[in-house]
């Protein structure tokens, strides 16, 4: 089983090489290769998840270490190695990535404009995402993090769409550049943090388990924790550094929005948990109130902003900010149940926001407008689209039985235990979420039918399949969250040093 994790990173890279060899006059061949490799990633990520969740053994598994740099003085005695492993936190993230990319291939099926280049960048991005979730070496974690961020730029700038408002427009180039500058700025902070950690630990290695065994000076922790928290936080949509996110999501092509809101933002939250909280527990304690405040603010601010949007995609974009605010709240509780909730929310939000973006894309592809006031009664023409959208929305507002509920429940319990005011404000944000989601559903899909859309057709079959796949996991997690929760809490307890379990 050692090869599994390496294969998860190697398959997208291999696919990229294959794409490059295909002459661009065979777009269908490109799609088929994308489909096959997308399925391979999906199957492998399911395999990793199932094997991890249902087999004995805890802590990090499928450990694989490949030496990369040896015998060079520059970075310490042990050099750097590609160290891959999966634990209770990364297993669901790997599954999430597998699901979203497989669905994303279906959603991207009809991209005609230079589809080869499109898939090259998309798969490059995915290899970086898998790399971050799987790396146990700080150097490679950062390496893959950067790999994941950059393709985004071209994907938005080339295949994206500009937004036009009454008085002004937001060009896609603006959104792409804004996104990249924010994220490069964030990674600059992480960069400094990594070397500071490396120096302070003095172990001559970037290996996370080794770095994690070191006890750092309290003042050092207080200084370095915000570097990581802010650096990764920018990617996680940390308020007030979230503004790249709605613009970026809206400008991006559908499948890229799915991956970005669904998976990429999770990299940020994952980084905070995997690096900052794991290595610097005292720094985390010190900064937790601030993180909690920013998280709650983001959740409320995102929800209120979403409420104010008429553009469907901007609404979903702001709802992502709001939901990522919940994730940060969960992390900031620093209790097992709260952090559990954060990880659950990362998965739940990943699948449901991917579904929402997919459905918004399906509407926009036909209607070429996204202003929700211009629709009405679409459910009569496109019942499946309406149903899918409704499921995503209901999960988003936390309806029991769907994934969102499980996650938010944990987060709010954690928040009430530690910061009751934050829990209360969080519930308020959830209530606002319910308002804007239901209002949007009512405006777009129900009510009197707007005859302008008489020609509207049901989703393409690929979109239906991709959507169904995502829905399956929303329901799976909603009705049977046990496999997720058990293993997540094992790993979270180890990180928070609550229990004695773990490696």
């Amino acid at each position: 089983m050692d090869w599994v994790l390496l294969a998860l990173i190697a398959i997208p890279i291999g696919a990229v090489l294959v794409f490059m060899l295909i002459p661009s006059r065979y777009p269908q061949l490109v799609r088929n290769v994308a489909l096959v490799s997308g399925f391979a990633m999906f199957a492998l990520s399911v395999l990793v998840f199932v094997k991890y969740e249902f087999e004995g053994g805890s802590g990090f598994r499928f450990d694989l270490q490949l030496a990369w740099l040896e015998n060079v003085a520059f970075l310490g005695k042990d050099g750097i190695s590609l160290h891959l492993a999966v634990d209770g936190i990364s297993a669901p993230m790997v599954l999430l990535t597998g699901i979203v990319i497989f669905a994303g291939v279906f959603i991207s099926w009809n991209i005609d404009y230079r589809n080869k280049d499109y898939f090259v960048l998309l798969f490059l991005l995915v290899s970086g995402v898998f790399g971050v979730f799987l790396s146990l070496d700080l150097f490679f974690l950062f390496f893959f993090y950067e790999v994941a961020v950059l393709p985004m730029y071209l994907l938005i700038a080339v295949w994206g769409t500009s937004s036009h408002f009454g008085t002004f427009t937001r060009p896609k180039e603006y959104a792409a550049m804004k996104l990249v500058l924010y994220l490069v700025g964030g990674s600059a902070l992480i960069f400094v943090g990594i070397f500071a950690t490396f120096m302070e630990a003095g172990q001559g290695t970037f290996d996370l388990p080794v770095l994690g065994a070191v006890t750092y000076d309290e003042n050092f922790q207080k200084v370095v924790f915000p570097l990581y928290a802010l650096g990764f936080g920018i990617l996680a949509g940390l308020w007030p550094f979230h503004t790249w996110s709605p613009d970026g999501h809206v400008a991006a092509p559908t499948a890229v929005s799915m991956l970005h809101a669904g998976v990429l933002m999770k990299l940020g939250a994952f980084g905070i948990l995997r690096v900052a909280i794991t290595l610097f527990p005292e720094g985390a304690q010190f900064w937790a109130p601030v993180l909690m405040t920013l998280g709650v603010t983001g959740a409320l601010y995102g929800a209120i902003s979403a409420m104010a949007q008429r553009d469907l995609k901007y609404m979903v974009g702001y709802s992502s900010v709001s939901h990522m605010g919940f994730v940060l709240m969960g992390l900031a509780t620093l209790t097992t149940i709260g952090v559990n909730g954060a990880v659950l929310q990362m998965f739940a939000h990943g699948v449901m926001t991917a579904l929402m973006f997919a459905m918004v894309g399906a509407v926009y592809d036909q209607a070429h407008v996204r202003d929700m006031t211009m629709f009405g009664g679409l459910a009569q023409k496109t019942p499946r689209l309406a149903a899918f959208f409704a499921i995503a929305g209901l999960s988003s507002l936390g309806l029991p039985g769907l994934a969102g509920f499980v996650a938010e429940f944990h987060i709010f319990v954690g928040a009430f235990n530690t910061y009751p005011w934050a829990g209360a404000l969080g519930i308020l944000a959830a209530a606002i979420t319910a308002t804007y989601i239901l209002r949007m559903l009512a405006m777009v899909f129900f009510g009197p039918f707007n005859e302008r859309w008489a020609g509207l057709k049901e989703m393409r079959r690929g979109e239906q399949f991709g959507g169904a796949l995502l829905i399956a996991f929303i329901i799976f997690m909603g009705v049977w969250p046990a496999p997720f929760i058990d293993r997540i809490s094992e790993s979270v307890e180890f990180i928070l040093r609550v229990g004695a379990s773990g490696p």
Partner: protein, 491 residues
């Protein structure tokens, strides 16, 4: 005989330069019949020269022939050999990139001969350990380059050449003044002996040494193209023939760093004085990076933009020099960081300029705005240029990422955290203007649909550069080990 042997890599370049000139005369005498073969044959001779130089350097390593030559004027050690490979390799790529460029130029032979002579001068700069020889090498490099910059003989090129000549002459004079101070204080021109005297210097001589140090930094700062000695860079880069610009930005700059490391680490390497110049370098590094990047933001001409970016990059190399003065282990780390960065930078910048040569000669413009839609007209060139620009930004998996990590890591380890922070913040600024070019190539509509095909040799040079920087990015060990071995010379 040992002396000649160790001097071989330089000697063969100079010999080949002479052969090229003579062969050109032969062609002139032979009449027009053989004219068709002239250009390719001269190019091949020049390439053979660089290849022979590389092979000779490799043989010196293989037979363990390192050592001094010409009674202590030259020291062929791992450091000098590292630069032999760097300069000869750079010259080879520049020559490859020039073959198509010189298609309509009469003076091909002179061009190649000057490139080879200049390369020999750069190699010499890295290996001499005597002030007199250093100055001779400096002039050999410089004078060849003055002519090369003005080679096109049109308005812009001549202006650039004159500018480069005037400022170059002044800076040589300043450097010479600094050397004269050193000689006056220590009574020797040998770097080793100067080093001995400097280590015993007392308070009074120390202040004189600081003066000498300032003159030397000012004089060589011109070659390294660091702020505040960077004024010539944008105009000369813009006006010079693009292959020469590539050669300037890589070869000449690396030569400047080589000689600075040689002088400052050997002659002025003593603890008390080295902390002085390290501080100067740290400040210059911060200013060069910031000023270079901020000015690059507003450039519309890609050659000027790359010129300002090379100023910023030079600032990043300076971080390595600033690190040197901290405790002993950092000595190695700082020096090898500079060497590694120079190695990666050579591939990166050569690649970028080759792409500019190929694209600009076709579209007849150096304006970034005219690069619109290049990705449609030539997907491979656009991809190559994109990879080079990503490497300049420092994005994995390119060589630039490892280099950035190396240098900033060295800075953090030497407690220069502020410098590392200035550096990473600068990389955010840099990302903006590099990506702007990428954006323009991929998203804007091209002015015409006609495809851009680089010539065969130009394409080959591009492939070498891009593959090189990707290989270093993914398997950096060999270059890392080489630069650490070279740095150990000063250990």
């Amino acid at each position: 005989m040992d002396s000649v042997n160790r001097f071989g890599p330089e000697l063969i370049l100079l010999a080949m330069a002479a052969v090229i000139i003579l062969a050109d005369i032969g062609w002139a005498l032979a009449g027009t019949g053989a004219e068709r073969m002239r250009r390719p044959a001269l190019g091949a001779l020049a390439l053979t020269g660089t290849a022979a130089s590389i092979i000779w350097s490799a043989l010196l390593i293989a037979f363990d022939e390192q050592g001094e030559a010409f009674s202590g004027m030259i020291r062929v050690d791992d450091f000098a050999l590292f630069f032999n490979f760097l300069f000869a390799g750079t010259a080879a790529i520049v020559i490859l990139a020039s073959i198509d460029f010189l298609r309509r130029n009469r003076f091909v032979a002179e061009y190649y001969a000057l490139i080879l002579a200049s390369t020999a001068g750069m190699m010499l700069l890295a290996s001499t350990i005597d002030l007199i020889a250093i100055f001779v090498a400096l002039e050999l490099t410089g004078i060849s380059l003055y002519i090369l910059v003005a080679f096109m003989k049109d308005g812009r090129s001549s202006e650039a050449g004159l500018k480069y000549l005037l400022l170059g002459a002044i800076s040589s004079a300043v450097a010479l003044y600094g050397m004269a101070y050193l000689f006056g204080i220590t009574g020797s021109t040998s770097l080793d002996e100067i080093g001995l005297v400097v280590s015993e210097a007392n308070g009074e001589t120390r202040s004189a040494l600081v003066l000498a140090m300032v003159f030397l930094i000012a004089g060589f700062g011109f070659k390294m193209a660091i702020v505040p000695f960077q004024m010539w860079v944008p105009d000369v880069y813009e006006g010079a023939p693009t292959p020469v610009t590539a050669f300037l930005s890589v070869g000449s700059k690396a030569a400047g760093f080589a000689v600075v490391m040689r002088i400052f680490l050997t002659a002025l390497g003593d603890g008390s004085i080295s902390s002085d110049w390290a501080t100067v370098f740290a400040i210059l590094a911060a200013i060069s990076m910031s000023l270079g990047n901020i000015t690059a933001l507003v450039q519309g001409n890609i050659k000027r933009m790359l010129g300002y970016s090379s100023i910023a990059q030079a600032g990043t190399f300076l971080i390595g020099l600033a690190v040197v003065a901290a405790a002993d282990p950092q000595l190695l780390l700082g020096t090898s960081a500079v060497l590694f960065f120079l190695g990666t930078y050579a591939f990166t910048n050569l690649g970028a300029f080759i792409a500019v040569i190929a694209i600009s000669s076709k579209i007849g413009s150096d304006q970034i705005a005219d690069y619109a839609g290049v990705a449609k007209r030539s997907p491979l060139l656009a991809l190559g240029l994109t990879i080079c620009l990503l490497s300049l930004t420092g994005i994995p998996p390119t060589a630039g990422f490892i280099a950035k990590v190396y240098v900033f890591n060295a800075a953090v380890q030497a407690d220069l955290v502020w410098l590392a922070i200035v550096g990473v913040l600068n990389s955010v600024v840099a990302a903006y203007y590099y990506l702007r070019v990428v954006l323009n190539m991929y998203t804007a509509e091209p002015a015409s649909e006609e495809s851009i095909q680089p010539g065969y040799y130009l394409g080959l040079a591009m492939v070498v550069a891009v593959v090189g920087l990707l290989v270093i990015g993914i398997f950096p060990s060999p270059l890392l080990e080489a630069s650490e071995a070279a740095a150990r010379v000063f250990g």
